[in-house]
C-alpha cells in the first residue's frame, strides 16, 4: 500500500547529501585553518621572533626576507601578524563568549522567568541598547581603566544586549514551537523538555550567531586599541599594530595594510562560515 513511501524512505534514509562547498566557503575554511595554525603553532608559519628588535633594520619594505616588511623597531611584520593572531582572536572570541553568555543568561531569564522577569529583562535590554556599542565600551573603560582585558569585557558587554534579544526571541519561538508542544502533550516533564528540546535547539543557532559576531568583535576591539584603550605594546595585537602603524602611513604603508588585511579577512572568513552554517542549519527546518 505504500510502495511509493518506501521508495522515498530508502533514498532519504541514506546519509544526508551536503551541498558542495562554494569557492568562498573553501576560502573561508582555508583562512580559518590558517588562523588556527597561527594561533596554536605560530612557529610553523614563521621562524622569526616577533619581538626581536633590530633598530637598524627599521622601516624596510616587503622583501623575500621580510614578507610584510619591518616595523619602526625593525621587527618582522609578518611574524608579528602571525603572533598577533592568538591575541586578536582571543580578544574577539572572548568578547563574543562574554556577549553570548550574558545574552544567554538574560535571554533565558526572560524566556523562562515568567511575565515579570521577562518584562524587566526586556526593559533592561532596551536600556542597554540605548548605549550604542562603543559608548558602552567607553563607559566600561572609563570605569575599569584601559587595557586588553577591559577592552574584551567592554566589547563583550556592548554586544550582549543584541544577543540577549535574539536569544529571547529564539527561546520564545522554540517554546511555542510544535515540537515542544507535542512533547508536552505526550506528558514529558519541563526539565526534560528544556534539556532535550529547547536548549539544544536554541544553542545551535547561537553558535552560528557567535561565529558571525567574532569578526565584528575583532573590529571593535581594534577600534579600542586604535583609541589607545585596548591591547598594550609590545603585544602584537592587530588593532594595536594598526594603530601604531597609522602614524607611519606616509612612510611605511605595509605597517597599516597587513594587520588591517588580517582583520578584514578574519571578519570576512568568519562571516562566510557563519552564514553558510546558518544556511545549513536553516535547511534542516
Amino acid at each position: 500500500m505504500s510502495e511509493l513511501d518506501l521508495r522515498t524512505a530508502a533514498a532519504s534514509a541514506a546519509p544526508v547529501r551536503r551541498a558542495r562547498p562554494s569557492v568562498s566557503e573553501i576560502f573561508a575554511m582555508a583562512f580559518v585553518l590558517f588562523l588556527a595554525v597561527a594561533t596554536v603553532v605560530p612557529g610553523l608559519l614563521s621562524s622569526i621572533d616577533p619581538n626581536a628588535i633590530a633598530a637598524r633594520d627599521a622601516f624596510q619594505g616587503p622583501s623575500p626576507e621580510h614578507w610584510f616588511g619591518t616595523d619602526e623597531s625593525g621587527r618582522d611584520v609578518y611574524s608579528r601578524v602571525i603572533a598577533g593572531t592568538s591575541t586578536s582572536l582571543l580578544i574577539g572570541v572572548s568578547a563574543t563568549v562574554i556577549g553570548v553568555t550574558l545574552g544567554l543568561i538574560l535571554g533565558v531569564i526572560a524566556g523562562f522567568g515568567g511575565r515579570i522577569l521577562d518584562f524587566s529583562v526586556n526593559r533592561t535590554i532596551e536600556v542597554l541598547f540605548a548605549f550604542p556599542g562603543l559608548l558602552l565600551a567607553l563607559l566600561v573603560i572609563v570605569i575599569a581603566g584601559p587595557g586588553p582585558v577591559t577592552a574584551t569585557i567592554a566589547v563583550g558587554l556592548s554586544t550582549a544586549p543584541g544577543y540577549a534579544r535574539i536569544i529571547r526571541g529564539q527561546l520564545a519561538g522554540i517554546r511555542s514551537s510544535g515540537y515542544v508542544e507535542s512533547a508536552r502533550v505526550l506528558g514529558h516533564g519541563p526539565r526534560r523538555i528544556l534539556t532535550r528540546h529547547i536548549l539544544p535547539n536554541a544553542l545551535a543557532p547561537l553558535m552560528v550567531l557567535a561565529t558571525l559576531g567574532i569578526g565584528q568583535a575583532v573590529v571593535w576591539a581594534s577600534a579600542l586599541s586604535y583609541l589607545g584603550l585596548g591591547a598594550q605594546p609590545p603585544s602584537a595585537e592587530w588593532g594595536a599594530m594598526l594603530s601604531a602603524g597609522r602614524t607611519y602611513i606616509g612612510t611605511a604603508w605595509w605597517l597599516t595594510v597587513f594587520p588591517g588585511l588580517m582583520i578584514v579577512l578574519t571578519t570576512i572568513a568568519t562571516t562566510i562560515l557563519g552564514r553558510s552554517l546558518t544556511r545549513r542549519t536553516a535547511g534542516r527546518r
Binding site: 568562498s24 536600556v127 550604542p132 563607559l139
Partner: protein
C-alpha cells in the same frame, strides 16, 4: 454579501485610536529608558577611580591645595550623601540642566548643544549615503547574474569588515594625499563632509546591503511578483514598484540600530577628521574624567537613539500595514 466583510469593520474604526495608544506606550517606554540610562550612568560613573574634585582642578597632575579641593567639593555638591546627589542630578535633569563641565567649566547643555549638530549631520548623511549605496549594490547584485551576485556579495562582506579608522586612513591616503580631491580634515564645506561620511557609510552599507539583498531575493520569489509579472510588468517595474519597497522594510527597522552604530563610529571618525561633535567630545571627556560631559553625552545619545527607534518603528508601521494589523489579531 460575503462573510468576512463585516468582520473587518470594527478593527477599521479603532485604527486611529490604536495608533495613538501605540505612540503613548512607546513614549512611556522611552521615558523609562531615559530614566534608567540616567540612573545607570550616574551610579556607574561613581565607580570611576579618582576624586571628581581633582578632575575639576585638572586631574591629579594639578597641585591643588586641600582648601581648594574642599571648596570644589562644596561648589559641585560632591560632599552631599550619594542619594541626595542622585536626586539633585535627577531634579536638574528634569529642567534640562546637565550640570557644569569639570574641565571646561561651562554648562554641559550649552557645550553639547553646540556639538550635537555636527554629529547628527554626519550620522544622518552617512545613514542616507549608506542606504543609497546599499540600495544600488543590492539591486545591481541581484539583477546581473551569477558574476554580479558574487562580486556584490564580496563587496558587501568586505565593506562590512572594514574598521573605521583603517578605512579613514586609506581614504585620506587616496583622496587627499594622492589625488588631492578632498580635504583630509573636515571643514564646514560639503567637500569636508565627504570623507567622514564615506568612512562611516561604507561599512554600514555593507551590512544594509546584505540584509536588503536577502530580502530582495526572497521578495523576487514571492507569489505577488509572479502576479505582477503576469500582468505584464517589466523587470524594472517589478523592482521599483514591488521588490525595493519590501527590501527597504528591514533596512528601515535597522535604522535605529544603524544610528547607534554610526554614533559609535563617530568617536573614531570625528577624531581622525577633526570634526567637532559628540564623539570627539566624549573621547576627550573620558580622558579628562569629565563626568558631567560623559553623562551628558550618554544621555543625549540615548535620547537620540530612543527617538530614532520610535521614529523607525512608526515608519515601519506606516510602510508595512501588516505590522498594524498584526496587533489586532488575537
Amino acid at each position: 454579501m460575503t462573510p468576512g466583510s463585516a468582520g473587518s469593520r470594527p478593527a477599521q474604526r479603532s485604527r486611529g485610536f490604536r495608533g495613538i495608544r501605540w505612540l503613548l506606550v512607546r513614549l512611556g517606554g522611552a521615558i523609562f529608558v531615559l530614566w534608567a540610562v540616567a540612573t545607570l550612568t550616574f551610579f556607574a560613573i561613581r565607580l570611576i577611580p579618582g576624586d571628581p574634585a581633582e578632575a575639576v582642578l585638572g586631574g591629579p597632575g594639578s597641585q591643588a591645595s586641600q582648601e581648594t579641593l574642599d571648596q570644589v567639593r562644596q561648589d559641585y555638591g560632591l560632599d552631599l550623601p550619594l542619594a541626595v546627589q542622585y536626586l539633585n542630578a535627577l531634579g536638574r535633569l528634569l529642567t534640562g540642566d546637565l550640570g557644569t563641565s569639570y574641565a571646561l567649566k561651562v554648562p554641559v547643555s550649552d557645550l553639547l548643544g553646540a556639538q550635537i549638530g555636527g554629529t547628527l549631520v554626519l550620522a544622518f548623511t552617512a545613514l542616507c549615503v549608506a542606504w543609497l549605496i546599499a540600495l544600488l549594490l543590492s539591486v545591481w547584485s541581484t539583477g546581473g547574474g551569477r558574476v554580479a551576485a558574487a562580486v556584490g556579495q564580496g563587496i558587501e562582506l568586505t565593506s562590512a569588515a572594514l574598521p573605521h579608522f583603517w578605512l579613514a586612513t586609506v581614504l585620506i591616503a587616496i583622496f587627499s594625499s594622492t589625488l588631492g580631491w578632498l580635504p583630509p580634515v573636515s571643514t564646514a564645506t560639503p567637500a569636508g563632509l565627504v570623507l567622514p561620511t564615506l568612512t562611516l557609510a561604507i561599512p554600514l552599507a555593507g551590512f544594509l546591503a546584505q540584509v536588503m539583498r536577502e530580502t530582495l531575493l526572497d521578495t523576487l520569489d514571492a507569489p505577488f511578483i509572479v502576479s505582477a509579472r503576469a500582468r505584464g510588468e517589466s523587470e524594472r517595474g517589478i523592482r521599483l514598484r514591488h521588490a525595493l519597497r519590501h527590501a527597504s522594510l528591514p533596512a528601515i527597522s535597522l535604522s535605529g540600530w544603524a544610528l547607534g552604530y554610526l554614533i559609535s563610529g563617530a568617536v573614531v571618525v570625528e577624531t581622525i577628521f577633526a570634526r567637532p561633535g559628540l564623539g570627539r567630545t566624549l573621547l576627550q571627556a573620558v580622558t579628562l574624567r569629565d563626568v558631567p560631559i560623559v553623562t551628558g553625552v550618554v544621555l543625549l545619545v540615548a535620547l537620540v537613539y530612543i527617538i530614532m527607534t520610535v521614529v523607525t518603528d512608526a515608519a515601519s508601521r506606516l510602510a508595512d500595514p501588516r505590522l498594524r494589523n498584526a496587533e489586532a489579531q488575537p
